[in-house]
Every structure is written in C-alpha cells, then in structure tokens.
C-alpha cells in the first residue's frame, strides 16, 4: 500500500476528508507516522491481510462518494479477512494507538503489542475534536474556554 492509498483508505474509514488527514501544509506529519505502523515488522501484520486490504481498496476506491461508503461496508468491514486490520486503521487515526491484531482491542489479554504510536499521533487523535474537546494532556485553548459551547467538526 502506498502512502496516498493509505490516506484515501483512511478517509473512507474515518469519515474525514483526505485533505484533513494529510493537509498540503503538514506540520504534524501524522499520516506518515501512522502509515509507518503498517510497515513495522513488530506489529506482526500478516502480509496476505495487508495485500488483500490494499487490493480490495484499490478495486473500490474510484467509486463515487454515495456508493463508496456502501462498498467499504460490504467489501472491507464485512470481510472477516481484513475487517480487523481496517478497524486498526480507524484506531490509528482516532486514538494514535496500534492495537494487537490477535485480540479485541478492549481485551487486556497479555502479552500483547498494543502501543501508542507517538506523542504526536496521540495529540492528533481525532476522537477528541469529534466531541468538541481536545486530547487529555494537550490543550491549545485559552483560559476559561470550557465555559463556552464548542463547535463540533462538520461531517460532510
């Protein structure tokens, strides 16, 4: 999978535009850092899963938007071979965490290789802004901002 394919697949999986995930002027370079997780041997990603996910994505990526979501659901999410790997990509973007593929992410079974990708990946996790908040431990808000109602990001 190439970086561009990863970003476009991630856009479909996360519901965020690719230009948000990897902006033209990219100060945080999160896409590159998360993409690197797909190539980390210590993550034990079965090659055939990654290949299948890549191929399936490439086969549907050109589908125009209304149909793309349905295609992702049918071909990826409901595909037992690759759904877990696809879900891990969602977690990469929403949390900045890579979860051990051999278990449910909510399970504490150990040993496991669950890990935070990096502080930058953590502070750019999408789940926080989704709620109108910020990652715990990292706020760019001004004093007293919490008294005001936030604007949630637009879901286009």
């Amino acid at each position: 999978m190439t970086l561009d394919q990863f970003v476009n697949l991630s856009a479909a999986l996360t519901g965020y535009p690719a230009t948000t995930l990897m902006p033209a002027f990219d100060t945080q370079r999160v896409a590159e850092a998360l993409f690197a997780e797909l190539n980390l041997p210590s993550n034990n990603i079965p090659a055939d899963q990654l290949n299948e996910l890549t191929q399936v994505w490439n086969s549907i990526s050109a589908t125009p938007p209304p149909g793309l979501e349905a295609a992702v659901l049918e071909k990826i999410i409901k595909n037992p071979d690759i759904t877990r790997l696809a879900q891990n990509i969602i977690y990469l973007w929403f949390f900045g965490i890579w979860y051990d593929l051999t278990k449910n992410p909510n399970s504490f079974d150990s040993p496991n290789i669950d890990h935070v990708v990096s502080p930058t990946a953590y502070i750019n996790g999408l789940v926080w802004g989704e709620m109108g908040a910020h990652p715990m431990g990292y706020s760019v808000g001004e004093f007293g901002y919490w008294a005001n109602v936030p604007t949630l990001p637009v879901i286009s």
């Binding site: 519901g15 659901l73 992410p105 990096s118 502080p119 709620m131 004093f143 919490w146 008294a147 936030p150």
Partner: protein, 623 residues
C-alpha cells in the same frame, strides 16, 4: 554528598508536599535544613551540582511517559523506581485475584503484584509518588477546607475521635496554605457548614469558571435536597492559576506561573504547571541557600539515644540507578527530625526502626500504622439528555458540598460529590472503550454481533453520544479502625532490601452505609436530571465489596490518612497537635497521616496547613 560535618537544624525525611512546605518555612527563618528524598531528583531542584550527573526527571520527560502510556493512570508519567517503589492503580486487585508470588525477586515481584502486599479483605485503593515533589505531581488540585464539625466527630456525632484542634486553630494556616499554593475560589461561596474566613479574606485568585456540565447540574438540581442536604453546586477551590485577585494588602497575587488552559489532565500531570506542585515551594526553599537536599536517599532506620528519648540520627541508603544496587549507607544528623514521608512510608519507617524499641520509634501508643484510611469513592456515570461537552477544562471545577455534614453523621458516613469533567474516562475507560465497542463490537446478549461502525456513521455516533457523558464521584468518610493498618512486610522487600508495606484494610458499616446512600443519591440525581445511567461495573473492580446483597465498587481517591494521628493524649495518638511525637521531643511526624479522622474534603490543603502549624511550633522549640 558528605553531610557528616555540616550541622543541620533540621533533617526532613521526604521531599514531597509536607517536606517542601516545612523545608521552606524553616529555611526562611534561617534554619539549616537537610532533606532526604527517597526518589529521583527534579531538574532545577538540586542543591549539589554533582546531582546533575544522575538521572533527574523533568516535566517534559514525565509528559512523554504519559503520552506513550496505554493506561493513563495517575502513575503513568512516573516510571517505577525499584529502589523507592510506589504503588500503582493497575495492581489493585481483589485479594483472591492477586497472582501468587514469593517475593524472592523484588523487581519481578513488584512488577507482578505491585509494591503493596495487600492482605485485605479489601485492597487499599490509593497510590502515591516517591520522587522530588512527591504525590503533588498528580494531585487533582482540589483545595477545600475541612468543616468545623469535621474536627469534632466524637463530640457532635459520637463517632470515632475528636481532633486535638478545632477549625479556628487552623484558620490562619489555611490562609497561608492557600496563598502558598495559589488557590482560585470565591470566598462567598465557600462559607458552608459553618466555615468562616478571616475578616476581609480574599482568595489569591478568582473562582475558576464553571463548565457547561457544572451549570447543567446546578440548574437541574436547583432547590433540591437529598436526605435533608442541599444539592447546590459550588465552585471547588483549586490550586491552579486563574485570574489574580487584589489581596488585602493591596497587592495583586502573582506566582509567576501560567494560567490554566484546561488540559483536562490535572491527574496525572499538568503540562504547564498551572496547577501547583510542591516543586514550587521546594524551589523557594532551595533559593534561600539554607537547604541541602539529597536525592536517592532512602531512610530506613531512626536512631535513638541510649535512653530511647531523643532521635540522634536517621540512617539512609543511597543508590545510583533506579534498578541498581545500594551504593552506600549513611547517617543524617540534626537538632530536630521531621518525618514527612507520606502516610504509609512514614508509618513503615517508624515501625521498621525497631532495634531499640520493639514496637518501633514513636509508638508507645501502638497507633503507628493503624487507622489507615482513604476516601473510598463511589462513582456514578451516565448520559445527559443534552450535550454537556466533557473532556474540557480542568478535571473538576465544581462539586456538591451540602452532603458533607448533617445529623445523619451519627448513623452513616457523609460524602462530598465531585463533578467530573472528563466524561466516562475514569469509570469506563472513555473514549477508548466505547469507540472500540462500536468499531470492533463483540456479540451482544443474544449472541449477535452488531455491524461494526466506521466513517461518518461512527463520527455521528461519537458526536451525539459522547458529548453527553459525565460522571460524579462520592468521597465517602472512613472512620479510624484497628483493622486497617500497615506493617512492614517480613517477607517482601524492595530492591534495596527495605520492607514493602503489608496492608490490612476493610470498610466498616458506617462507610458501607455511606456507599448505600451514595448510590441512592446517584439514583435521585440521575432521575431528576433525566440521565440515562450506565450500570455496568466500572473498569476498576479491585475494590468490590458486598453490602446488604448489593455489590459496590470502591475506588481510591488517592488520599492516604491516619497512620500517625495526632491527639490529646499519648495513650491513643502518635503526636500532639503540633505533630510532635509524644515519645521523642525532637521528632515531628507531619502529613495526611496526622489526621485522626478523614472528613470528606480532599486532605491536601489541610495537610499543608498542618505543616505550617508544625513549622511554627518547631521554630518556637529552638529557643
């Protein structure tokens, strides 16, 4: 550092909250002070240049450890130190779930079962830190004064014991503590349950603005009561920087630190030091030039003179790396000795020092290590009908204080209700657990697996559901109890060969009735606010117990108290009201361990007030 030739006016064991406060007050009064800190030094907080060659810690490193931690516990920024180990919430287990371990390998044992040797029946649920700055690194910031009745439980409610002092004895010291910390609050709001303030008192900074959640609860519970207690929502005085006030003397308060930016991370660490931590005070102590601090110095034995009367030295072990061997044994000497090592470590040190007195130092009363108390906490969490936007602002900005006092205290424990701004993070691992439930669902009760969510559908769910999360937490009073105690383990040692704490702990009916009332209060509040409660067990299940057929899950509040309590007579207390040992005229034992009872307020502010009171007494005692 060779301190053997230097004459110290005071030797302080502990470079954390109480130790820093005492070092500062004594040093300001021109006393020469030596501080022994078991854990690592903090950058910028050393008195010996050679200490910069050791692995000192700093906020940036702690933040890195925090960012990279999978479980963002209070300990997550602070890497374990096997030579000055500290407990971790991840090790809190029901007693019969603790993995078997023979303690033969200290490092492995601490990793496997935790630092504590928990004997139960209920595991002790709170933790602390051992390094420069101590537990202040991860306190929440709540700076509440105790109520007048809290000091007189026996007289007013015929429960437990009275303190040897009253609220009025501590009032000036509360002022001093609030000034040193830099507390933000509105004095008009804080005059509850008989609390009074000195004439014209102004808090250093204005009340921290309330969150949307605070206002929602406040409006929804307006005018309502629970078992006769008002459910009014009040701002919580906090040791975090807000907008400065003009003080009584005309000056504007200014401690030079940044204002709160709502990082929602007070526990485990404030990234910008808007929240006070005791390195602020230790720094001022060091700036006087009257303080030497030795890090990586673990006190293990208090030496008494031949008559067993006065303390003549404190033996300590040093180490170079946190997993490496002991590098030497030394003795620190001074005119006065102060143990400010946190309730469990202080008691442990006194009990370990038993070569001359078989029950340990300062323990004629046999109370050292006993009366171990926490604020066991009951958590309630659910979904508000409308968004309240959690995960914003400090972890807590308001609470319900009406429930802290009343006639019911004759029958059941009181509590204060803390409103949490961090959604379901603490009780239920939010946002992670809930997102995972949606994205990687497991079979439901019928065995069907829901369709995994992704993309815009996932986003919509987060936006509509997570924005309504909130939690409340009940800090429940615990009474002093002979069955709750810590002793030095005879079989399990840390990496320096120093005994680990063996803890025996339980709740009595008073407290369990408090849990029952907390659950009822939760039901009442939730139904009034039209909240959809979440009734699943919390993530932290180690503190589970049954009462009248109901399972409750107690969480530790991080408040460790009672183990060297003060009192009016040597028969049943360890120190007098100035925290001077009844047994040894030049020994003081200062900290939350000094509390005879716990009340319901977070103990830190009171502890600092007591430290200032002790400092005054110690200074007087030199002449």
């Amino acid at each position: 550092m060779d301190t053997s030739t230097k004459q110290y006016d005071a030797v302080i064991v502990g470079g954390g909250w109480a130790g820093s406060a005492l070092a500062y007050k004594l040093a300001e009064a021109n006393k020469k002070v030596l501080v022994l800190e078991a854990g690592i030094g903090i950058d910028g907080l050393i008195s010996n240049p050679a200490d910069n060659q050791l692995a000192t810690g700093n906020r940036a490193e702690f933040m890195d450890a925090f960012f990279m931690a999978m479980a963002k516990t209070p300990e997550s920024p602070y890497v374990q130190n096997y030579n000055a180990p500290r407990p971790s919430v991840l090790d809190i287990n029901a007693i019969d779930n603790i993995p078997p371990d023979d303690c033969s390998q200290p490092v492995n044992s601490i990793n496997k079962i935790g630092y504590f040797i928990q004997k139960g029946p209920i595991p002790f649920g709170s933790t602390y830190e051992r390094r420069g700055g101590g537990t202040s690194w991860h306190w929440l910031g709540t700076s509440l004064r105790m109520l007048p009745n809290d000091f007189k439980l026996k007289t007013v409610y015929n429960k437990a014991v009275d303190w040897p002092i009253e609220y009025e004895d501590l009032s000036d010291y509360y002022d001093q503590a609030e000034f040193e910390i830099g507390v933000s609050a509105d004095v008009d709001e804080q005059q509850i349950h008989g609390i009074t303030f000195s004439e014209g008192y102004v808090y250093p900074m204005a009340k921290i603005p309330a969150t949307i959640l605070d206002n929602t609860i406040d409006q929804g519970l307006a005018g309502l009561t629970f078992e006769g207690s008002s459910l009014k929502v009040t701002g919580t005085p906090a040791g975090r920087n807000g907008v400065p006030n003009q003080m009584k003397n005309g000056e504007f308060y200014d401690n030079g630190r940044r204002q709160c930016q709502g990082n929602t991370n007070c526990t485990p660490i404030c990234p910008i030091q808007a929240k006070y931590d005791s390195t602020v005070t230790m720094s001022k102590a060091l700036m006087t030039g009257n303080v030497d601090i030795i890090y990586q110095a673990v006190a293990f034995n208090i030496l008494l003179d031949d008559n067993g009367k006065d303390v003549i030295g404190i033996e300590y072990k040093t180490y170079e790396t946190t997993g490496g061997p002991c590098t030497g044994t030394f003795t620190a000497t001074g005119t006065k000795y102060i143990i400010a090592a946190h309730a469990i470590e202080a008691a442990k040190l006194l009990l370990m020092s038993n070569s001359q007195k078989k029950n340990g130092v300062a323990n004629t009363s046999l109370q050292v290590g006993k009366n171990l108390m926490d604020h066991p906490m009951y958590l309630g969490w659910g979904l508000m009908p409308k968004p309240v936007y959690p995960f914003r602002g400090p972890l807590s900005t308001s609470g319900i204080e009406g429930t802290r006092d009343g006639a019911f205290r004759s029958d059941r424990a009181p509590f204060r209700i803390e409103i949490g701004n961090e959604g379901w993070n603490w009780p239920a691992g939010s946002p992670y657990v809930q997102v995972i439930d949606m994205v990687s669902p497991v079979p439901d009760d019928t065995g069907l697996v829901p369709v995994p969510k992704f993309g815009k559908d996932l986003r919509r769910s987060i936006q509509s559901v997570f924005t309504r999360q909130f939690r409340i937490g009940f800090l429940i009073e615990q009474l002093p109890d002979d069955n709750c105690y810590i002793v030095p383990s005879t079989t399990c040692m840390d990496n320096l060969g120093i005994p680990r704490p063996e803890i025996h702990y339980n709740f009595d009916t008073y407290t369990m009735e408090g849990f029952k009332a907390a659950a009822e209060a939760t039901d009442f509040i939730f139904s009034t606010l039209n909240v959809k409660p979440n009734k699943l067990p919390p993530v932290g299940q180690g503190g589970a117990f049954e009462y009248e057929g109901v399972t409750y899950y107690s969480q530790g509040a991080g408040h460790v108290m009672g183990t060297h309590r003060m009192g009016t007579t040597p028969d049943d207390s360890v120190t007098d009201q100035n925290m001077k040992s009844w047994d040894h005229g030049n020994l003081y034992i200062v900290g939350c361990g000094s509390f005879p009872t716990t009340a319901t307020s977070n103990p830190t502010l009171t502890m600092m007030a007591l430290a200032f009171k002790a400092a005054d007494a110690i200074l007087k005692s030199y002449s």
